[in-house]
Subunit: 189 residues, 2 copies
DNA sequence: GTAGTTTAACTACGGCCGTAGTAATATCCA
DNA sequence: TGGATATTACTACGGCCGTAGTTAAACTAC
């Protein structure tokens, strides 16, 4: 089969989501933005739900790639090293990956109301959360589950504020120091 | 004048945003959900932009009320007290205020692309951020601006994960401990 | 009480959307 | 090679959306 087409559509959908939001993502808009003949997207993803699923699935891949280096347990038992890797991954999401970060938030909101999206989103999320617990446990956390959630939440909040919110753009150093602060607080408990 | 009408419309719009997302918020949908005669919303907020502005302005009021107790500097120089107040405010947003929290995220995304919304959102945001800096400074932070941003980001992330994301619902105690962890780490620097 | 002004009610229009049916084309395997 | 099958292209339809114009009602101030 030809995944070429599906990937192009998903990629274009991500861009549209980021630039125009949920109301800007339509079958026809994807066709036009991707330079495909009219009806192509409608044909590949027959319903709107199918289009969203396709897009979120692609997005999950991209995010997994971006955070892959952080999820390798080896060597991350040292807090400073963990902070460094986390900060760099976040930095990537704020710069190179800004587009997909915005699109992911759009789809996260939609997942609130669409079970088929929630399934994909949750599954993708656990691929970050589970390793985080393991790593924090190895780093000496006394409550790795809660701390894992906190680390993920802190990361999410930093990204959200930087990309969506009113917060000023943090520097890479801000991120590094921030994660380090949190880790210090958690591991000193 | 009669602000009754405007408030009803804004309140209904918030509910629609939370329940059906940006694509579910239309002039006609507000009319129907609010039990108003057709055309009423279209008449009060003549353009879509006006409707969004009206809604976000109302939302900013609600959020300001919810966080008012935390923003009182008095007595909050003690980290545990600050953590307690913050955790309680967050808890409110996750339970009673869940609807407006979701709606706020919808509008935050939209503010990315609409300058008129960004203006309102940023202004409302600074009403949290500025006091946070002051309070952290009083609590002994060596870098209150960065720490203020981190505290807000952490709060935002905990809310986002709980309401939108894949994270399990935190308990009030989780929130308390989480904020305490972060404060400990920041103030130990 | 009545003239003038604001607010509400209703209606209309052009446009885009989701969806699906069907025809054309390419691809694959025996 | 040639027939079966999957993919792509094109078109159509009903429906809802944003917007605005126009009329009717309510209110205000003199």
């Amino acid at each position: 089969m030809k995944p070429q087409r599906a990937e192009l559509v998903a990629e274009t959908a991500i861009t549209l989501l980021a630039e125009r939001g949920m109301r800007g993502l339509t079958h026809r808009a994807v066709d036009e933005a991707a330079g495909l003949p009219p009806g192509s997207t409608s044909n590949l993803a027959r319903t709107r739900s199918a289009l969203l699923e396709l897009t979120l699935a692609r997005l999950a891949e991209l995010e997994a790639d971006a955070f892959a280096p952080v999820l390798d347990v080896a060597g991350l038992t040292m807090p400073d090293m963990l902070a460094e890797m986390t900060a760099r991954a976040l930095w990537t999401q704020l710069t190179t990956g800004r587009r997909q970060t915005i699109a992911r938030y759009e789809l996260a909101m939609e997942a609130t109301r669409r079970p088929e999206l929630r399934k994909i989103y949750d599954e993708a999320g656990s691929r970050f959360r589970d390793p985080a617990v393991t790593i924090l446990s190895a780093a000496g956390s006394t409550d790795p589950v809660r701390h894992g959630r906190q680390l993920v939440a802190f990361s999410e909040g930093m990204m959200f504020d930087a990309v969506i919110g009113a917060g000023a753009e943090p520097t890479l150093d801000d991120l590094r120091l921030g994660v380090r602060d949190l880790l210090r607080g958690m591991l000193a408990g």
